[in-house]
Structure formats: C-alpha cells, structure tokens
Amino acid sequence: MDLNVNGVPVSTDSDPDAPAVELLRDGLGLTGTKLACGNGVCGACTVLIDGAPGASCLLPTAHLEGRSVTTVEGLDGAHPVQRAFAAHDAMQCGYCTPGFVVEAAAFVDRWRAEHGDVDPGRAAVATAMAGHLCRCGAYEGIYAAVRAACAGEHDDPASAPRPRVEAFEKVTGRARYTTDILPAKRLEAVIVRSPHAHARVGAIDAGDVPHVDLLPDDRTLRYVGQPVLAVAAATRSQALAAAARVRIDYSPLPAVTRPEQARAAGSPLVYASRDERRAAPRSGEGPGLPGRWQGNVRGPSGFGRRQATAVRRLSRAAERGDDRLVTAVFTTSVQVHTPLEPHACVARWDERGDLHLHVSTQAVTDVAEQAARRWGLPPERVHVVAEHVGGGFGAKGRLGVEAIAAAELARICGVPVRLVFDRSEELTDAGSRPGTRTELALLADASGDLAALAVDAHGDGGVSVDTPTALFANLVYGTAPRRLRDFDVVTNLPPGAPFRGPGGAPLLWALEQGVDEMALRLKEDPIALRRRWDGNPKRHALYDRAAALPMWQRRNRGAQSGRIRHGVGVAAANWPYLLNTGAQVELEVREGRVVARAAIQDIGTGSRSVIADVVAAELGLPADRVRVEIGHNNGLKGASSTGSKTTTSIGPAAQDAARRLRRLLGDAPSVAHRLEASEGARVVGGRGRDRHGYLTPVPLGGMAVGRGFAGAVHVAEVEVDTRLGRIRVTRMWAGIAAGRIYSERLARNQCEGAIIQGIGYALYEQRHIDPATGVVLTDNLEDYRIPGIADTPEIEVYFHQEGWEHVNGGGVGLGEVAAIGVAASIGNAVRDATGFRPLDLPIRPDRLLEGMRP
C-alpha cells in the first residue's frame, strides 16, 4: 500500500486494520504523534489526512491508501501556530502539544482563509479544539496561542521570546518521552491483572512465554486490576495474545468494595493479619502516620491543640443549639491522576550488567536508588533517563510495577523490554487521590472568633492506607483548640497515590465551605472573616487584593430567582514548604557554552527553564549560551518533582553554581568573553541553607520542611443553570503567596493548570466502581471526564512575592497550593448563586438539582 507522509512517498505492508498511529510511530518513527487514549477522545494522535484533522488511533491503516498525511513533524516548526504555542507557553508537559498543534494549524489556516487575520475569540477556538484534552490544563495558553496565530501575530519567523526552553522540541514533536523510546530489537510487555476483587492465587501456567511473577508475598490479590504477572513478546498484540493464554488458578475470597460496607461490623477483612496490614501499600508521601486497626478501619492518627477543650466546647455548643456552631459531612470522590503520558518503562541490561531504565517518572534519583536496592547494584550502575515526562501529578514518584516488570523481563530475555500502560490500566491502577468522608465542626465565640474546630476524616484509598486529611487543619486559622483525626477505611479497590496537594484538597473542600457557612451565620463578608481568623501576613495581602476585585465587589447579594444565577465564592489555602536541601546543579563550559546539569526531571513545570534563566541571568549570558541537561541520575544530588519542591530546591543551587563559575572564570570584561578560553571548566553548586534553618531538624531522605507556609486565595465566579443543574465556572482569580517567581509565565501556567484540575475535581471527575465486582467502570477518557478547553474560565493570577526573604532564592513551590482550594471556592460560589451548599464532590447536575429542590 502506498501513501505520502509529510511529502515523502511511503510504501507499507502494515496490517490494514491496525490503527494508523502504529504505522506512524513504530513503522516510520514519527513519534511526535502520541497514543494516549486509543479512544478518539484526547486528540494526542491527531494528524492531517489530505489536510483534514483525524484521530490516527481510530484510523485503520488501509484508509491511508493514496492519501497524504501530515504529522506534527511535517509542519517542520515553520507554521505560525507552532511559534505561537511556544511564545504563549501553551503547554506544560507537552504530551498533548503535537495533537493540539496539528489541529490548530489546520484551524488557523482555514480561519485566515475564510475570515482574514482576525482574532476568532474564545468560543471558536474552543469548538475547534474540542477533540483535545490537556491533563496539565494549559488551556489558557492554548487559547492565547491559537487566537494570536489567527490574527497573524506570529508570521514572522524571527522567534518571539519563548518562556520555556524546550518549547520548540515540544511544538515540533521532537521532544522524546519514554513512550517514544522504541529500540529496534525489543520485546513488548503487558501485565496480566486480577479479574477478582479478592482472591488467593494458586498455580500459574504461562507456558513457555517469558514472564515474571508480580504477586505480593502472600500471593493474595486484593483488587481488580492488581498485577499478577507480566509477559513479553515481539509485539504488543502478541504479548496480549500470550497474556490471554496464561492460566491462573484463583480462589476467590469475599470482598468489600464500598467504604460503608467495609466499616460495617462483620464485613470481610481486606487484611486479616498483622503482617498483611504492615505490608499494605501507602497512598501518602510523608513518613506515614501511626494508627490502630479495627476491622477494615485504621486510625485515628490524632492531631490537634487542646483537644479536650475543643471537644468540650463543641459538645456544649451542640447542646445549647448554638447558631455559631457549623457542622456538616462533606465527601469527595476518588480523582484519578491520568497523566496524558501513561506509566511507561523501557529497560535494558548492558554487557557490564548495568541497568538502563527509560522511565516516565517524577523522580529519576529516587527511582535509581530504589532500583539499585532492588537489584543489588551500586547506584552508579543504574542509569535512569526521563528526558521528557508527560505529566505525573504525584502518580509517578517511585519505582513502579512498569519498571520492575520491564527490568525483570529484560534480564530474562537479554533484550530491551518496553512496557507501556494503556489508558484503561492508567485509569484503574496507576494512581488516584483517595476519596474522603469528612465530618467538620466549627464553632465561633460571641465575638466571632474561632473557638473550636473538629475534623474527622475517613480516607477511601482502596487497599492503601495513610490518607491524612484532617491533619492539615493544623496549619490554618491560628491556634484555636482543635481535634483532628484521620482514619483509613480499606476496601478491595485499587490503591491511592499522592496527588497534587494530597489531603489538602479534600480538607479544604470541607473546611473552607465551613468557614463560608460561618460567615453567612455571622453575617460577615467571607473574605473579612478569613482575614480576621487567619494570622498569615502574606495571605492578608491576598485578601486585600481579593476583596478589591470587581467580581467580588459587584457580586450579587441576597437570594436570586430565575433560571440562570451567578455566584462568587472564595477559599483560602495554606501548604507546607518542602525542599530538597542537598539539591545540586553542575555547570561545565563546553564549546563556548555553559552546560547545566541536574539530577531532576521536568514533568511540565519548566525545570529546565528555571535553571537556564537563573544561570543566564547570573552570568549575563544570552539564553542560547546555556544548555540544560536534566532527566538523568548523573551522580548529582537531585530533587524529585513531588511536594512542589523542585524549583525552590534547584533554583538556588543553579544560582550558587553560576556564582562559583563566575568566580572561577572572572567576569572582566564579561563571562561571555571568557567562555571560549575556559573549555572544560566545571563547578557544582548546592542549595544552601535557609536563614533560621528548617522545621525538620534533619532532612528525611534529603527532604526537609522549611519555615513558612505557601498561601493562596481563590475567587471563583460561576453561572448556574438551575433548570439543568449545570455549573460553569466563568472566571477565576488566584492570588498566590509563594515568594519570588522564577519565571512569571511558567508559574502562571502552573496556577492556571491547577485551576483546571480543581474544576475537574469540583464538577466532573468521579471514578465509578461496579460495587458487585470491584471493576473500575470509568476506565476510558470518555467516561472519566477531565476538563476540556471549553471548561476553562477566564483566569487571572496574582503573585505576592514578599515574605520569603529567609528562603535561599526567595521563592517556594506553588504547584500544590495553587490547586487545593479551587474546588472549595467553586462550592462557595455555587452556594452564593443558589442557596444550596454542595457537600459532595463532584457537584454533578443531578446532585445540584436534588439539593435545590424546595
């Protein structure tokens, strides 16, 4: 069969029914086209067929016969929309970018031919881009880029400034992700997963296909989708066929699939013995909290201040029916990370017995350390590579089953082995934010001050424990007495994982609505109340800004009638400042340029740019004289991209390294002049300590908790269709107090993305389980609904940069604090619009209508 790809004639004998994306990627090596959902939903695989956009995952190869196909590579970096994407930073991880760019190129050309060089406005762009999903939520940049390209603002090839150093690789499809590593001689692996919610495994007969056992020590499976073993074969379809032939003896055991059921007396136990409990996976990222077990419930791990006082005040207030006592039970749904690049690993052992892992990870050094320990290798003999990472959000923080299985199979087979999750696996067993049920009690005294607070939170993290939520109520609203108790309720469902502000998002959903309710009871402006209760001076600055916003000033007061109603809501957030104290950056002069290296990775936050900008500024070099190499464990001390700590750890290290290099080279007349003569010069810079040190006396695993809390205030404006129960977030303001902003555009992009994910959490995202079987029903991106471009409100982000002078570098992380209060601000806005206080996430239309029923 003949076709034309990017202007080049191609002949192929591929299977006619195989999706075209396979031919493009595996056959022709055009890996700019991504396969992310295989379902036609996400658009990452979009190519032009005779000029018209189509999803190549749904296109049988046969349909390309005689056609002309243009992939992102075929646009050659020369299309104005590619420059526009780079200039407006219309990306984070970049995994969705090629698909967006291809669609946008067709749209822009057509728009300009039909309308001339005019701005099409948001609505037209939203319609055109409806077939694309960006899990990072880079939609604001995408709107701006497409509109500007239509208006002819990027026709001049002289490149406009690009806030992100790797932008060009991302808009051209050249950025290589783990899934794009396709060694010619390799095997493809797939995982055989449990069909039972609870079962003991007997004999396994895999025939002569290479396989590795992935069972836990007790050979007991505790959820549907749990890995049993992995098999490898020459192609993925052969591996799938081999997997289907594996015979496994299961002895099913009784299972619990709902938290209410798990809590009931006499229900089947997920973990029957102490040893089993001890081996339970953990969903948190901290050191893990203690807790006693009672059946399937673990806890409480209790925190607080003057707990007895808190309890006494609350019960007395309840007895006397005090109007200043706010109590409610809030719930949140399990939210799945579902980064657009699935979990993936390509593993290889070399002649010397070194292990090479290409892995989609947020933590190259942690993965390397864990791999070294697992396979008994010295650290320098494990080589982890993550050049580009298509998102993580917390789900890719450790050595995972994809890497373990690939490495084991590679060892058995003596060839590289590639293992990539499909979207169903990604949505079933690759990480999710535990659901919660949170009982909140909040009491104000006669003068309207916070008198007592109690939070009991039950985490629903499937088989995993350690889902602290209530704990985070220790960080807010002064020192009033409080009792905070966290429980885990285990069920036979997939385990949770840390997800962007773990614990913070569900806590604030409850607490910030509670505070809002209190403001209503006290008849006080919700911002003013927070300002009174919250002693944090940095957030005071944000409250003042928020209170002055036109949308806040003009908000409706009093009950509304009519079908469409508008509301405005506010929520505040507080989040610990974490860092890797030992993070290092190495600089080396090579061929007249400075090469910067760090053992970090970029999951879309823009770590390369942080280093490049800091080094270039310190040395007075033009951007193109600094090259950043990250995504390897190169012997330097790194920082994982978890806990919002990469930038604050690596920025000062880069600064320190640059100062050292300047000292080494001397700067007369300028560093730039001295580079040519300094080939090979090398320095290593370190993070340096903060003034006054850290809250943690010694770093744990290289990590410390710094002094001070990052703060955020979100103000959301919603429009509610009270007849259909639909909510649209029309506008969102975010005030962020995280100190110095290393790169304004990249930081704003993070905050915008955080808002989009918060909107998903608030309105759409809900993992559904079949309670009878424990099967995850929402295992595709049609049914698990993440926000699309049309769900994006107009977003304004304000950075308050003072107050972090004690921190080396002056700035702390913001990726999490920018996310955790979003849903609560929307909940409060819905209450403002409708009078109905939403207690359960997501605020689905049916729930809203039910709640509003008189």
């Binding site: 036609g40 956009p53 296109l59 669609e103 409806a130 029903l777 929402t778 049914d783 699309g788 049309a790």
Partner: protein, 289 residues
C-alpha cells in the same frame, strides 16, 4: 482477521452476503475503538470507504437522499437547510476529528441508544435504505430500532442511505452532555413539526435501550399547537408536553447520569424545543405573509 475492501457497491453486497459476520467499517470511529481495546476481534472487516456512492447526497423523489458514508462535517457544511435537525445533531457530535470521519450510516450500524443521529431521524420520520444481494428495501427509522444495538438490518444487509423528507416546519435537536464539549449524550431530544400534515415528531436519545419516540407527547402537541397563528401555547401545555416526553423515556443510571436526571433533562429540553418551534413557526408565517 481479513480485511475486505470492495471498490464497488455490488462487490460490497456480495462480500457481505458471503461473509455475514464481516463487520462493515466506514469512518471507523466506533469500530476502531472496539478493535483497539480488544473488545471485539471479528473474523473480517468490510471496508466501505472506497465506494463512492456512499458519500453522495442529493434529492430523491421528495426526499433528501444521504449516502450512509457522508461524514457529519459535510452535513453541517452543505446540508444544513435541507436537514436542520440532523445538521444540529451532527454539530453536536464529539469533535472535528470525529465529525470529519463519522457517518450517519455508522451511527445507524452501531445503533447505540446514545447516537446523536437517531432522534432527528425519528422526529422527521426518515427512511433507512437497506441493501443486499437480495435487493433493496426501505424501513422507516421509526421501525428500525429493535432492541439494545439491535435493528431491522439483517446480517447480509448494508445500510446504503437515509432518506429525509423535505422539512415542512421547525426542527430542532438538543443534547445534554456532562462537560462543555466532546461528550456522548446524557440525554438528547429532537422535535420536528410538519405544518402541512399538522403532525409532530419526536426523538429521544440516550434515555432507553433504544432511541425512542414520545408518541403521546406528539399527539398531544399536535392537537394543542396553534397551527394557524402559532400563538404561544399555555405554560400548562408546555409543561404537559415536557412531562409526556419524560415519561416516554426508559432511562437507567450509569456513569454518565442518573435515570432521574435524564428524565428531568428531557422535560427541560422538550419544553425549550416547543418555544423554539413557536418562534421559528412565527418567522415562517411572517416570511410567507
């Protein structure tokens, strides 16, 4: 798996007759999803994309004949006036990539109760043309849907076209999704008025095992509607119509929405459709006057 790619209609019919279990594939936007996830491994695929007449459209004895393979994009861009409700439905389908390839024939072939083409086809009383080596027959869309994904099409038949009557009054389609775009319907509704016959047609999507009609609602509105002056129906009439539409649905709870919400959404869409119809009808009267 065999891949049959006939280049003429006769060959296609012969192939379908010889391999009744071959799965036809047009745009592939349903078929490929199933293949990709290994949900289905049919013995053969029968590719229909090389048959030119499946993409034709034009007048046919008082009808608009729409080849089964005409993609949604073409309906939106070229056939808006001749098939208003269907074009609105086409616009509501997914995304540009899907609309460029997906077809009404494919929608009918899969017969998902959530398919957007079905409610308009029911409402306007369209015909579905089925062909086999045994001959050609036309089945009213209203007789086409038999059960969950089961239709009047026999195993050796292919869908060749749909035939849409000339619009004779206001038509509309609306759809409730779960997000602001790119969604399969939670519920959808189509309304078509025939000013000459003074009849009302309805179609309900995603709220039952098959696409449905609300026959009681049709009769009720036909008798209540002011066919001469298009006076606004009373609020009670509109509400009653909404209730009748909702009660014709047979929805279930699933990941997209609850049965209760679906009924509610249908009544809202039905009421709104009446008010649009009144406005359109008045405009039409004004234009003719």
């Amino acid at each position: 798996m065999d891949f049959l790619s006939p280049s003429t209609w006769e060959e296609a019919l012969a192939a379908k007759s010889a391999h009744p279990d071959a799965v036809p594939i047009m745009g592939g936007t349903d078929v490929m999803v199933e293949l990709n996830f290994g949900r289905r491994r049919p013995p053969a695929l029968l590719d229909l994309t090389r048959i030119p007449q499946l993409r034709d459209h034009g007048p046919d004895d008082g009808y608009l004949r729409l080849g089964a393979g005409v993609p949604y994009t073409t309906i939106i861009e070229r056939l808006r006036d001749r098939s208003p409700a269907l074009a609105q439905a086409a616009r509501a389908v997914a995304s540009p990539q899907i609309r460029n390839r997906g077809s009404v024939g494919g929608n009918l072939g899969g017969a998902s109760p959530a398919g957007d083409a079905h409610p308009p086809l029911l409402a306007v009383d369209a015909l579905v043309e089925l062909a086999s080596v045994r001959g050609v027959r036309r089945v009213a869309a209203r007789e086409f849907y038999h059960g969950p994904r089961r239709t009047a099409r026999r195993d050796d038949e292919l869908i060749s076209a749909v035939l849409l009557p000339e619009p004779a009054g206001p038509q509309s389609f609306s759809k409730i999704g779960t997000r602001n775009a790119m969604v399969i319907a939670v519920a959808s509704f189509s309304l078509a008025l025939d000013a000459q016959a003074r009849t009302v047609g309805t179609g309900i999507g995603s709220a039952g095992p098959t696409p449905l009609r609300a026959i009681e609602a049709e009769k009720f509105l036909a008798s209540e509607f002011d066919w001469d002056g298009a006076a606004s129906p009373s609020p009670a009439t509109v509400t009653r119509f909404g209730e009748l539409v909702a009660s014709a649905a047979r929805p279930i709870d699933d990941v997209r929405g609850s049965a209760h919400y679906r009924r509610h959404a249908l009544s809202v869409m039905a009421r709104r459709a009446v008010s649009w119809a009144v406005t359109d009808y008045r405009k039409e009267i004004a234009r003719c006057a």
